[in-house]
Symmetry: C3
């Protein structure tokens, strides 16, 4: 889709330096942008690419604009404006209401006439599908599920019984929301399943990645706040609560009943134990192992970064005896103290 | 579903303190139980909630019952009795036999007339589906698969060629059982796939979580014992054996040919190398990295819990030189020994 | 399928020691091979099983053949020849062209007449399905997807819009290729989705495991090289590049824009940060945490192997103060130096 720079400037509410009728029709990184490209300069280390760029338009700060040989849109936050511009060039496809003949919709489900139910999808009894919702191919919408307006289930999404999805959700293929979680009582050697009778409730503007799984509550609900973004391959246990606008990267797992605050960022492959309380504004780096509650905002980390295996093997062997090592150091300290005192006495 | 306390006491085989005709109709945690709630007191730290509870009935020990202002069911194991009671209030839905018109069942598959094959599910040739099996929407049951009586495939489950599932299984959406595992021979730069001709065999009362994957055997079979419970997002490699009643939490991965004993518990995001032997009754804590066989029951752990990033960075930098550090300590010990001896000589 | 040893020797191009008309009809490990079994001796520690084997035929080195009481095929690389022989005994099923009546194929998709589209699969507009491609049940092939000749999608595979798959791919159930990746710009508390307009492009002879997810590029493409083998439950972020013949085991996650070289092997549950460069021929052991680029081939590791929890707790407590510990050691070294010098002075 081609857009004039004038239209972009108006819709984005930013200043344009250059001709209003010039067109851009695709996105490109600043390192390879050419005629017709819309690009941006976010990382100042890339500024050397600016001097010789032939991009159709660069989004950048007013300061950087001085060095820009082509048309520019000015903003203090070029990446944000680029993201917004990208959504103008690549608008979400509009939804045409209807039910594909191969879909199976229970007569007791209510599907808004402006919503689309794709081929080979199944909508069970009592489900409520809101306006302009897009249910792609191969989805399963369970009994009594509710999906808010303008949500998009790309393909092969499963929403289990009772799940509630807010408005404007984006749910990727293979996601499973509202699965009966992992709860058992022990009876001798046997495990007796504890029925999981709560729900999974997602706020507005939530994104759920491919093959991510969110369990429903055991008693009470699993709560995913507004604006929460979950990447792929994440597991959220029963009765977890995730605060508004918190984002998690792929392969992370959150154990049951842990409560995570607002505006947290959780990098990839983090693991959290159950029943923890994580404050607002906490950031975990990749592969962090979270075994205790965190009450103060800030950045937290764990893990040992990779090193050549020979070095690693030697260091790990020492780690196994770290406690012993500290005892040896204490002994050394005592011995030296004694020697100093006795030397002191000698001196005195 | 509402049940009288008298019926509960009888069916659970426990003593009732209170009126037999009082009703409970839902589950609640002791912290928020109200009229009509069935709850339990497991964790004694919650006992203060007991004094003022308005629950319909509390399951607790005889000792705690003294402080309980409402009807009570008495048991030495309140959580187990609560789980059993919950299954009475929330019975598994009964299965109505039949095949949905949108399902595709090969004429050479044998489906018990009391089993249900849901919409958009596919059952391939030679499959054998036992009595009262529930195959939810969007499942794929491959060639020659066998499923025992009373098993439940919630939705979108894939059972690959030759897989056997015992009785009373519960398999959650997105699970893939019997996938051809990851085996290759190297031919210069190329990888030559080694055909995987074994099967995945699941015992009775097995539970498989959402998006969990179990590979079939390369030669010989992958074996999942009776009563094994696997949470979501788990990967089980080819020829793994998991002993009866072992439970694994989400995001765990078990590499090929590892054998895990009975009654083990494996917490979330544990990784096990291949060809290990893990004894009965072994427990791994979350994110444990298991690189050697374990022959003694007990609890095993690894990993570095998260800490503020600044501290972590400093400590990790030191870890890289831990071996060197131990050498420095040895040198200090030698020096002090020498000094003590020479001091000794001086003294003598 | 039964094959004569003579035919095997000819097709594999190896020498046969024994009767050309003897038959083998199944694979077995050397530890349990019996009449009719084809087996191999790869690991010399298993040589003691050779003396008494009743296998139909053993693939082994000429040196080992001296001790073999049954027919043998001779090769310097028995496992590779065994893999090739296994593919002769278990040939890939041939594909019968056609579209199952329950499949939904858009009229604007082009499906080669020799390709098969299985039951309840969906092929969207503009898709191009090459000769002898097998699309199993429950797959979703998105708009403008291209699949090269002889590729096999086992079941329930999702290929999102624009994805390209080369020839002879093998893609397992639940895999999701070309998902719109995880990219956002921050706008105050809100996350603004950055449209992901690149593609996921897979070379020839690629294998993708069950429930593995590969994101498409943000701008530009995600590139999976020829002969790359990905196990199950892997996540590949947007704009990642994986070099030819690199293999990754299950549960691994690669963050966005990381470039991995050729002929790397990445064990299970490895995590890589984004924007890294990994050289050709790099090997990571299981659960390695990769936070920096690696420029030299070799083996790299990280993580703390599991130990009894009591030991682990003590050692981890010490790790939290490792930096402090090093300072104490430095102080000890200084003190001893001082003492030695002062002793020296005394001596002098």
């Amino acid at each position: 889709m081609a857009v004039t720079l004038g239209e972009l400037a108006t819709r984005l509410g930013v200043a344009l330096k250059g001709p209003a009728d010039a067109l851009v029709d695709h996105l490109a990184p600043v390192t390879s942008a050419g005629p017709g490209s819309l690009t941006f300069l976010g990382d100042r280390r890339l500024r050397r690419h600016l001097v010789e760029t032939q991009a159709g338009c660069v989004i950048l700060t007013a300061a950087d604009a001085e060095h820009c040989p082509v048309p520019a849109l000015l903003s203090n936050n070029p990446y944000l404006i680029f993201a917004r511009a990208a959504r103008i060039l690549h608008p979400s496809p509009s939804v045409v209401g209807g039910v594909h003949p191969s879909a199976v919709v229970d007569p007791a489900a209510r599907v808004d006439p402006t919503a689309w139910i794709g081929p080979c999808s199944v909508v069970e009894t009592g489900a409520l599908i809101g306006p302009r919702v897009f249910v792609g191919p191969g989805c399963v919408i369970g009994t009594d599920v509710e999906i808010g307006a303008d949500s998009r289930l790309v393909a092969r999404v499963t929403l289990c019984v009772g799940t509630r999805v807010g408005e404007r959700a984006l749910i990727h293929p293979g996601a499973v929301i509202g699965r009966e979680g992992f709860g058992f009582a022990r009876d001798g050697e046997q495990w007796v399943r504890m029925p999981q009778v709560g729900r999974a409730i997602l706020g507005h503007d939530v994104e759920i990645g491919a093959n991510t799984t969110v369990d429903r509550g055991a008693i009470g609900d699993t709560l995913i706040g507004n604006g929460v973004k979950l990447d792929s391959q994440i597991q959220i246990g029963h009765n977890v609560e995730v605060g508004d606008h918190t984002a998690m990267a792929a392969n992370t797992g959150i154990s049951g009943s842990t409560r995570i605050g607002r505006n947290c960022t959780i990098a990839g492959a983090v693991g959290m134990a159950g029943h923890l309380e994580i404050a607002d504004g906490v950031h975990f780096t990749g592969m962090a192992m979270v075994t205790r509650s965190v009450s103060a905002p800030g950045v937290y980390s764990s893990g040992i970064p990779a090193m050549p295996s020979a070095d690693w093997r030697r260091n790990v062997a020492r780690f196994r005896h770290l406690d012993e090592l500290v005892r040896r150091i204490k002994q050394l300290e005592t011995q030296i103290d004694t020697m100093k005192q006795s030397n002191g006495r000698e001196v005195t």
